[in-house]
């Protein structure tokens, strides 16, 4: 069970409205990611759900019950913090057992659940260490372990991977996804990294300045961004957003075309340009092409084999099937 509904939830700090009245429905077992630039209110939203902040207006329903006034501990949610928030004076075992101890479970049951969680998270050998003696990834797993043992209605993750290095991050990402599949419990995950959002989420909530810009599956967002903000935010490298005469040609104020939807050629194409910096990733190569027709350079994705000299003349052809059109307000034109 882990169905969370937000109804007209609002949060103000003094005069500043950080979350505008907002509705959101999270179904049981869903993996929902809140994504947005820093300061967009995604963490605040998570903390409102957790009960660590009071809402200024609206209601939070958990499994159909109004939980707006329920203290955090009673909401049946577990949270994994950005800094892991492990108790430094307790061993790993005690850390993981802490919520169980608070719930008043007997010692045997506590041990059983801790051992189980440790097995799942590969922490069995570290149970008697202190958090200070663990690596970043291990600490991360302890924090998750502490969340799992409670068997919560939903997990809340607040940028849990931002303190890990790149390689570990990919690994942990997989582990969390794996965990979700196995437990099929609702998870709400906050990140500013759209790659995490795309790879993990069942449903992405894009937030900007306290307002939901779009809600949808990763592919929905990729295919049909509702506005230029979402278009620019989702996808890597980011979508090329072009204005001016070329946009007008397509009956829009702005057109967007993703780097992977442009064909590059030395001979023929619609737009002419010169090659700027090229980034070789092996599997792919990203070219930054300066076109006289546009103010900003275009990013173009090509196969890993292609090699072009700096300053070489190239021709580009957009795939019109994947062209996104936006009006003057930045809203998508279907």
């Amino acid at each position: 069970m882990g169905q969370i509904h937000l109804k007209q939830v609002t949060k103000r700090f003094g005069e500043v409205e950080v979350i505008s009245p907002l509705d959101l429905e999270i179904e049981d077992g869903e993996f929902v990611v809140f994504v947005g630039p820093s300061g967009c209110g995604k963490s605040t939203l998570l903390r409102l759900i957790a009960g660590l902040e009071d809402v200024s207006g609206g209601h939070i329903m958990i499994d159909g019950q109004d939980a707006t006034e329920v203290p955090p501990a009673k909401r049946g949610l577990a949270m994994v913090f950005q800094s892991y928030a492990l108790y430094p004076h307790m061993s790993v075992r005690k850390n993981i057992a802490f919520p169980l101890r608070m719930a008043g479970l007997d010692q045997a049951e506590q041990n059983r659940r801790v051992e189980d969680a440790a097995k799942v998270l590969n922490l069995t050998d570290y149970l008697d260490r202190r958090p200070g003696q663990l690596s970043g990834g291990q600490r991360q797993r302890v924090a998750i372990g502490r969340a799992i043992v409670r068997e919560p209605a939903a997990f809340l993750f607040d940028e849990p991977l931002s303190n890990l290095d790149a390689a570990l991050r990919v690994g942990m990402r997989l582990e969390i996804s794996e965990l979700h599949k196995r437990l099929s419990t609702t998870m709400i995950y906050v990140t500013h990294d759209q790659v995490e959002a795309m790879t993990m989420a069942d449903k992405i909530v894009v937030l900007q300045a306290g307002v939901i810009e779009q809600v949808g599956s990763p592919l929905e967002l990729y295919r049909k961004p509702r506005n230029t903000f979402v278009a620019g935010f989702i996808g890597s490298p980011t979508m090329n957003l072009l204005e001016g005469a070329e946009a007008a040609k397509h009956g829009a104020a702005t057109i967007g075309i993703r780097p992977e939807h442009i064909t590059i050629s030395t001979e023929v194409g619609d737009w002419e340009g010169t090659v700027g910096v090229s980034e070789h990733l092996g599997s792919d190569t990203f070219f930054h092409i300066n076109c006289p027709a546009f103010e900003k350079p275009l990013t173009v994705r090509a196969s890993g084999e292609l090699s072009l000299k700096y300053g070489a003349k190239v021709m580009l052809t957009p795939d019109l099937q994947h062209l996104h059109r936006f009006d003057a307000q930045g809203l998508r034109i279907e």
Binding site: G51, L52, E53, D54, P71
Partner: protein
Amino acid sequence: MATQHSQSAARIMMAPAVILLLGWMLVPLTMTLYFSFKKYLPLRGGDLGWVGFENYTRFVSSSSFWPAVATTLIIVGGVLVITIFLGVLLALLLDQPMWGQGVVRILVIAPFFVMPTVSGLVWKNMFMDPTNGFLAYMWRAFGAEPVQWLSQASMPSLIMIVSWQWLPFATLILLTAIQSLDSEQIEAAEMDGASWFSRFRFIILPHLSRAITVVLLIQTIFLLSIFAEIFVTTAGSFGTKTLTYLIFQRVLESQNVGLGSAGGVYAIILANIVAAFLIRIVGKNLDA
């Protein structure tokens, strides 16, 4: 981060400390104010009626008042300057690699544990006494006339005694601050060609500013009310009468509580001026 619930809980939890201190401040403060407008002579039967501002004018017009204010500020200032200056040097020294650092640190912090009366007595008798004092023997050993510390160099002597007591405090805080300095910063400065002095001036000193602030603030609070050291050494003679000591004389030696209370009000005003001044200079450094 704060929920309504925790905010009201916070208020309740703060209440005992705030109420206690408020009481500890208000009761004596009101009493002091009350007495300061009275002719109150315990040896003549106590309360002899209201006298308006007479005590205030009398206290200020006394020939001892301004010298006492000056003495107070000189002692506070002198001790602050000495302890901070020597404290920085000592901290730099103790930060160097050496054998037995722990023991040296123990030696250096020891004076902080000595009660002010004892340190006053020990310095006065065993060291500064012009006949039997250790320093007198030292001076004589070098063929010099012993210095009559507490009479002819009373203020420097007093400042020295008090500095001896507070130097460990300053040194420890500054030492910890220096040890927390990122060595990469120093190395970077070295690569940039900064001399030892510039490294000190532009890297170490700014890094110490917060620690120096703490030393300033805490020491000032304690030094403004310094009493025992003066009581046992000079008893306020030879120009060492601080405002606190002058109040002591008025209240306990002359048994004029009204006059002393008026002095107390002046002392509070002086303390607040100093505090305001301090907060202005150092406040930025304290994210209290």
